[in-house]
Symmetry: D2
Subunit: 358 residues, 4 copies
């Protein structure tokens, strides 16, 4: 019953096998191996458009390098205040971007509120050199609260961004889950809705350490792409034996492997959400479109779960008290390895609970 994150798992066996297979022989180094070219072709097919791809080992590197490639040091990047780039990357965008600024925006379920974006862009940069200037909009799909941006929602935000002179970045750590949750195509969820750069994460969905930074419409983005390439090297993210990354990504994208895994996680997530909705004392706090559920439980239930070995993270400042006693906010993430048995055992533990408030 591990609902923490896919990070505590290893990689899918298929990925490790692919790495082993790619290990043999002499190949071009620094990203010039034939697998890297094949990854680019595969992604062009999947996204139905011309694109450029760069592979790096971490989502933090992917996001920060991408943002630095489209923002000057005096740029502002607009993001949700719960975004991974705002809360979990120790200031990586500011570091790679030479001291750029993030502007935190509100919005339910970690989806940016469109009005807040309009206002923030209007304020920012209105007084010339005295202020940092609008440079990029960063969206996360799935959001950090497990919600889905459908193409229409994305398009509203990217249109505002475009008008305000901003490039659009998407943190797609769980992009595969978003694709499978909504049934829209990768293209519809990205460049067709106005996304310029997608950081497509494989690490949380089966790879060991592999993230693809995808530039759509590469001819238009030539300057950003060149900037990315120098920053990647200078940031220590150009691995010499590039097959480390390309072999993972190639296998991950093959035969819908990436989507099948996401579908499995989503199915388990939906089963878990449905089960929790049946339980009187549990409140689901997010809008769980895929494999992430944020729920509030009575303290006693939480204790029973933990005692039984259930693993999950608490939300920040998780414990609150109201008329019904103390409750705890928790985050549950289903991975491809999550089984129906895991889910049902978890739900049983919840249901069994006898209310025990003082």
């Amino acid at each position: 019953m591990n609902f923490t994150s896919d990070n505590s798992d290893g990689a899918a066996p298929e990925i490790i096998e692919a790495m082993a297979a790619a290990n043999k022989g002499v190949l071009g180094s620094y990203g010039t191996d034939p697998l890297a070219a094949r990854v680019e072709e595969r992604l062009a097919e999947i996204f139905e458009t011309d694109l450029r791809v760069f592979l790096v080992t971490t989502g933090t590197a992917a996001n920060a390098l991408a943002l630095a490639s489209v923002s000057p040091p005096w740029g502002t990047v607009f993001c949700h205040r719960e975004a991974h780039i705002a809360e979990d990357e120790c200031g990586a965008p500011e570091f790679f971007g030479g001291g750029l600024s993030l502007r935190h925006l509100p919005g339910r379920h970690a989806r940016i509120d469109p009005d807040a974006l309009v206002e923030a862009i209007a304020e920012c940069g209105a007084r010339g050199v005295h202020q940092t200037q609008p440079a990029a909009l960063s969206l996360t799909n799935l959001t950090e609260r497990g919600a889905l941006y459908r193409p229409d929602r994305i398009a509203v935000l990217t249109a505002t961004a475009r008008t305000g002179g901003c490039a659009v970045h998407m943190d797609g750590t769980r992009f595969a889950n978003a694709v499978m949750a909504g049934g829209e195509s990768p293209a519809d969820l990205s460049w067709r809705a106005g996304v310029d750069i997608l950081c497509l994460g494989a690490t949380k969905n089966g790879a060991l350490a592999a993230e693809a930074v995808i530039y759509f419409d590469p001819a238009r983005q030539a300057a950003a792409i060149s900037s990315f390439e120098f920053r990647r090297k200078r940031g220590g993210h150009l691995v010499s034996k590039g097959r480390l990354l390309s072999a993972q990504m190639d296998a991950w994208l093959r035969d819908d492997f990436w989507l099948d895994r996401a579908a499995r996680s989503n199915t388990m997530g939906q089963r878990l959400a449905a089960g929790l909705r049946e339980i009187a004392d549990v409140e689901i706090e997010n809008d769980p479109a895929a494999n992430m559920i944020f729920a509030r439980l009575p303290l006693a239930m939480h204790r029973r779960l933990r005692a039984a070995g259930a693993a999950y993270y608490l939300e920040p400042a998780s414990q609150t008290e109201d008329g019904d006693g103390i409750s705890v906010g928790i985050r549950l993430v289903c991975a491809p390895s999550t089984t129906e048995e895991d889910v049902d055992a978890f739900l049983d533990l919840c249901s069994d609970l006898q209310p025990a408030y003082a």
Copy 2:
């Protein structure tokens, strides 16, 4: 009737005379002139404590260098969301601080809400290397909304900061106005209330371009002071003919000149506020302790004032509409050169106004 800012004035004649007087002869360069030493002595007397002082030409340089001297690149600086460092310095703290982060906090009249600070510090850095770490609290006194922090309010915030491992910086662009507004001593408003570094601004109050960065308890702050000195040079802020700055500051601090000027501005500010309170259609929006008033006027009144030559800035997104028609938010700043006649002429213009809403 110029209520924009002291920046559109020149310097006080006394300051220019002092600069001319100091111009003669050979003096040590790069801050080693005898006037610089005298400034340090004078400030030690005024603040009743041992201190180290560095002079720079702009408030932006003073603030950013001071913050960079106490925060690592992965530090968070807590400030009010309307702070000058957040809104008007084009990311200078992020630049000088190697990509540090500002965390914007709420609070009425641009005073930081103490609970918000407690929460923000608790959240920040709770998860180790994944987050930027609490590094500094930055207060502004007078605040950007013309309000006063009295020593007790300061002490509450600095105690929280200290517990959270933060150094305390005060942006004192209008520190002289704060001293005269509250009647507390410079020491009580700074180090005795927990401030480590004060950026004492003379430019808005009579100097041409002179800001003092004051480190209290210099023995304890030796590392920050050394860092400041290298950053100042490297930032191009160590002027060779240091008398440019020391002559201004020396004259400004002499015989309470700085305080007398602030008192004059405050008196005019209070006269203006009192007058505006008498006028039916005007709403004072801030808590004007000194020389700054934020007011909301009917659009017609604003137009009449402008037509008559009154100069002042509009607030961001200044124009709003409600049942009473369109109104305009404006900022009025009194300078030492502001006269009773200016104030009264302005008030007369306001009063004369016939409501003219459609």
Copy 3:
């Protein structure tokens, strides 16, 4: 006959097997897995001292993060002018170090000339804030020209560094080769000779992508270590599934695997050097202690080698002309996979050559 670099090979099969084996089960993420702890223990045994270890994917990241952890932005890092950090990392030290400076020093065979270091340190920082300050000495062992620093040579340089207030970093991309070339212990070649931080490279010697940053005497270096940890995360170099790195390093260090591989490369390198010395028209330009040879060949010989499929890099500005005609400077690197047959075939090709100068 591939004498380019180990980067065009994959990893040793043993490393891939270890990665596969470590892939199973749930482990702590972000470097908290048990393999990481075992790597630290193993290195403590190998180096016969207490130490702290951090694993990253590239040598560029290892070097730049290490240097940034011991140098302020206004620091100078002294290195040989042919050092990898000076010539091949696209300014990574300057980037991670917030704009620090490298000072290029001369010296035969890419070993820093001791007198040049004494002078450079004396000059640097003599005029206080007007200059960047001595911060670190960076040595490479094996040097970029394939030469060995023995402990006595290291000690001379590190003593100068210490006197000048510099930390000592060693780029140990080919440290294993240095150990086997000289027969001195890892401890004698590092901390006992005054090295504070060793970047021990496995990637060029059998791993896929794994470099260990080793801090000796960690209690003394606590501030640098803390700085490293934040910079690593912020630099996108803290991989979530840490076993990727620890499994490689654990296997690489096991049962002298790392040293055996280096010994093999060195043996082939020495065989190649001995053979080349016998050939009249070939001049060996470096002092080949291990597996790297820099040689000068007649142009016709070079063409014949290339035509026969021999692969190797040219030196910068490789082609020169003198009384004997045009010659070409080349770099030959032996890898563990290099065979006696490779070496002998190469030598035969050289010998067969009929002088063909015009």
Copy 4:
């Protein structure tokens, strides 16, 4: 007998008077005052071309901001190894440029050797992302060793720079002295010879603190100019009461004031050089075109001069010993305030000296 530098003097009285005159009344702030516009017009006349001008307080700020505006963080700036940006600005170019690199070049009298530039540009960036890329050439005229670059020498270097994709920056701290030394027009010494950005220094030649950053052909340099403007604000170098700077520069440029002063310094410099050449034990080490002389004196002569109150700087590592005994390398700078009496008194002291070697 002060031959240290113009920095220990105050400003010329004319400059102070101009500052006092400009102090009255309300003027646009942040560089929008009418004097700033007049300075731009005046410079356009003087340089016989369209240009954009920005005023800052220090030469370090001028140089570093200018270079950062034309170099990416992964850029290399080529300069002489004795250049002020290399030796005296504590890494300001690296700081403002986000970690750019300086490449130190040799050349007699601190003039860059043209072949060395050709080679350095060819090496730099030949291997793509692995290296920093050629970005700018920085010349100093007068050089740091008091030599003059005539237009033909400049053109050779700037042609190489242009071919290599570099912008050309000129540090013109003593540009006025260069103009008067060679008799060439300001235009011939700058843009007509291929200079893109000139940092024209007034501080060492009569101003209190004023440097002009001049962009020639501003339409072509629009991106660099925009970058400069944001960096200036963000660097704390946009002074609010802009008249501080524009008044100085306006007066300095008026009626050839700047050139007359330089001519006076040069005349004194040439008188001093001519006198020193007559003295047996003195060796002039530079090629003194204007107001700077580098000379080598017997130790006893140096002691006598110092005892008599002569002030000047020693060269780094100034004292050397040979068959004739110990000698001392010194730098003599004539300022506009230097008198014939000063020079002659100095020469007399030199001549009077009885050889006193052991």
